[in-house]
């Protein structure tokens, strides 16, 4: 088991830079997710760690070993692909034994290891099946077993759940996380699904256009997004155009339209008068009667079972508000005048 260090990692395809100078330290035993939209360079980064893509510049260290120029088979890694890549011409047992045979284990040891691996992934009795006789979830488990028996130093997963249906995806999400926790193996998990990243990870690196936008715990990423991109990519956020007025008592004063309000302190100095974005999550906005906060008008009410979602007009702009649908809270009708407010600490100013 090892940590992973990426130092100024770059990958260019001709003019196009798929990965732009990423530096990152993934700790030993950590479950680290690379999260970002399609084409942001997640897979390229993972494949550089695996050794399938040679970096254009920069270094990769696994533990204390520099592996930047090693071929994949010398890196002692395990990787699970989106399509699981079960060898179709080999049985489940032969698939799992593949890495063990390459390591010249004795036949007896291989049999014992394969059996216990099948027990670990809950596939006892599947030894003689072939890939075409397995469901997606079962293939996934075989792929993991095949990797884990070789005791790799790190585990790499590239969108391993995206080919499964929703119910199975939920189940596998917890199962993989649990397995990882039990083994304590350093894991890099690539996904474009924020739910997966938020529920499974110890830390998340949010990527956009080949850059790491923010690295932090799921809470950091969700509660304290550092860039507008992270804000809008993770969950839904209201983004209100504001003007920075100055500081007050450790908070930032901003105004939009006729409203002036406080928000969480900005880091660094910002000249009064600069344009900025105020970010508030829908679940953090409180709706009350007129006078209780900023004046707003209900545009639509959208019933969603456990939640009720409102679209409001606030000044010249629109925001979305979510409320828990409990019996003791009043509902609002379209056209109704209301007041909205939020905890300044739950709102963020991002200077564009």
């Amino acid at each position: 088991m090892s940590d992973i260090q990426l130092v100024n990692l770059v990958k260019s395809y001709g003019e196009m830079q798929a990965v732009k100078k990423i530096s990152l330290h993934i700790k030993e035993g950590e479950f680290f997710s690379l999260l970002g939209p399609s084409g942001c360079g997640k897979s390229t980064t993972l494949r550089m760690i695996a050794g399938f893509v040679m970096p254009s510049a920069g270094r990769i260290l696994i533990g204390s070993d520099e592996v930047t120029h090693l071929p994949p088979e010398k890196r002692d890694i395990g990787i699970v692909f989106q399509n699981y890549a079960i060898f179709p011409h080999m049985s489940v047992a032969e698939n799992i034994a593949f890495g063990l045979k390459l390591r010249k284990k004795s036949q007896a040891e291989i049999e014992i290891t394969v059996t216990s691996a099948l027990r670990q992934v809950g596939l006892v009795g599947y030894e003689d099946r072939y890939q075409r006789q397995l469901s997606g979830g079962e293939q996934q488990r075989v792929a993991l077993a095949r990797v884990l028996v070789t005791k790799p130093r790190i585990l790499l997963l590239d969108e391993p759940l995206s080919a499964l249906d929703k119910a199975l995806r939920e189940e596998m999400k917890y199962w993989i996380k649990e397995l990882q926790r039990t083994l304590g193996i350093t894991t890099v998990y690539v996904t474009h699904d924020q739910d997966e990243a938020l529920t499974m990870s110890d830390r998340i690196g949010v990527m956009q256009k080949g850059r790491l936008e923010q690295v932090g715990s799921p809470e950091d990423i969700y509660e304290r997004p550092e860039t507008l991109f992270v804000t809008t990519f993770i969950g839904h956020s209201n983004v209100i155009n504001v003007t920075v007025k100055g500081r007050d008592n450790g908070k930032t004063v901003v105004s939009f339209g006729a409203n002036t309000i406080l928000a969480r302190a900005l880091e660094g100095e910002v000249a009064p008068g600069s344009a900025a974005k105020l970010v508030v999550r829908p679940e953090n906005v409180v709706i009350g009667r007129t006078g209780e906060g900023l004046p707003a008008t209900v545009l639509t009410e959208n019933y969603q079972g456990a939640l009720v979602r409102y679209r409001l007009s606030l000044g010249e702009q629109e925001i979305v508000v979510e409320r828990q649908n409990q019996s003791n809270v009043s509902r609002f009708a379209p056209g109704e005048e209301v007041g909205v407010s939020w905890d300044p600490e739950r709102s963020e100013v991002l200077v564009a």
Binding site: G78, I79, A85, F87, F98, G99, R103, R146
Partner: protein, 307 residues
């Protein structure tokens, strides 16, 4: 590609246009085979069957009418005269050799074409493979003769350089026939190999690498066995083409390499003994079929019934 557009749904399943569904479900579906079957019966089955029937009449020079007096004299003659039964083995041997040489030459090229993602380079290699098929076989063989003949390019160059004293026998022997047959059949081999190698997802090779296999090991334990269907298809096509070829042994072998099609031609066209020629054709057909079937069974057994 033209014709009916095929759309793929969000779940990856192919969505068929309504008209295809209607045809596929109704009895109309089965009428689609009629034109090809009728063509096949009239222009292949009937003439071939009558030729084969002729094989069971005693030879009568210049007669091509079927007579009721059946006999197996022709077959007895084939299997008792070494000039004829040796031709069977010669034909099978040359066809097998052509398969092996074609596979050795074709596989690396097919692998590179299948793995090249650069579209320009890929197109260039494909053109290289397919361009030879644009010319008629006879023309391509004349080209080969210019290269391989006693006064051909190779021999005259080597003679001029003083590397040899007398021209090398590159033609009018088995070597020339094999070169000719490989040249003619290579595109078929390569095309069927490309098809099966392309269908192997690259992640399979990568999975093998990540599990500790070297590039060569990953190739031999994953790519090669998985390309078996292509190897099988390619060798079967090439074998059939090589075994039944008349033009190549005639031109490149100069009538000295006596394979079965040469005998057939001699019997029919030169001596007018249709019945005996037909009998050799029957033996050619049956032995080719037999060889292919045995090969197929062996390959299936080697695959362990896995595919």
């Amino acid at each position: 590609m033209y014709g009916m557009a095929v759309t793929v749904g969000s779940d990856g399943r192919v969505i068929r246009p309504a008209i295809l569904i209607r045809i596929a479900r109704g009895p109309a579906f089965w009428w689609l085979v009629v034109p090809a079957v009728v063509f096949f019966i009239i222009f292949f089955l009937v003439p071939t069957a009558s030729l084969f029937a002729l094989a069971f009449n005693k030879p009568a020079t210049g007669v091509i009418d079927l007579s009721a007096a059946l006999s197996i004299d022709n077959f007895i003659r084939i299997f008792t005269r070494s000039i004829y039964y040796e031709a069977i083995f010669r034909s099978i041997g040359i066809a097998s050799l052509v398969c092996i040489v074609g596979l050795l030459l074709g596989y690396p090229l097919a692998y590179v074409i299948a793995k090249t993602s650069n579209p320009g380079r890929n197109a260039l290699l494909m053109v290289l493979v397919l361009s030879s098929m644009q010319l008629d076989m006879v023309i391509r063989l004349y080209g080969l003769m210019v290269l391989l003949g006693d006064n051909g390019l190779i021999n005259s160059t080597l003679l001029d350089l003083g590397l040899i004293k007398a021209p090398l026998p590159l033609m009018y022997n088995i070597f020339g026939v094999v070169v000719g047959l490989v040249q003619i059949t290579l595109p078929f081999m390569i095309l069927s190999l490309i098809g099966s190698i392309t269908s192997i997802h690259p992640s399979l090779e990568e999975a093998a690498r990540s599990l500790g296999a070297s590039r060569a090991r990953a190739f031999f334990s994953v790519v090669f066995p998985m390309s078996m269907p292509g190897i099988l298809a390619g060798t079967l096509i090439v074998f059939s083409l090589a075994m039944s070829s008349y033009v190549v042994p005639a031109l490149m072998g100069g009538w000295k390499v006596l394979v079965m099609p040469i005998h057939i031609y001699q019997q029919v066209a030169e001596t007018g003994r249709w019945q005996f020629g037909a009998a050799i054709a029957v033996v050619l057909f049956v032995s080719g079929l037999l060889a292919i079937t045995l090969y197929h069974l062996a390959a299936m057994r080697a695959a362990g019934g896995r595919s």
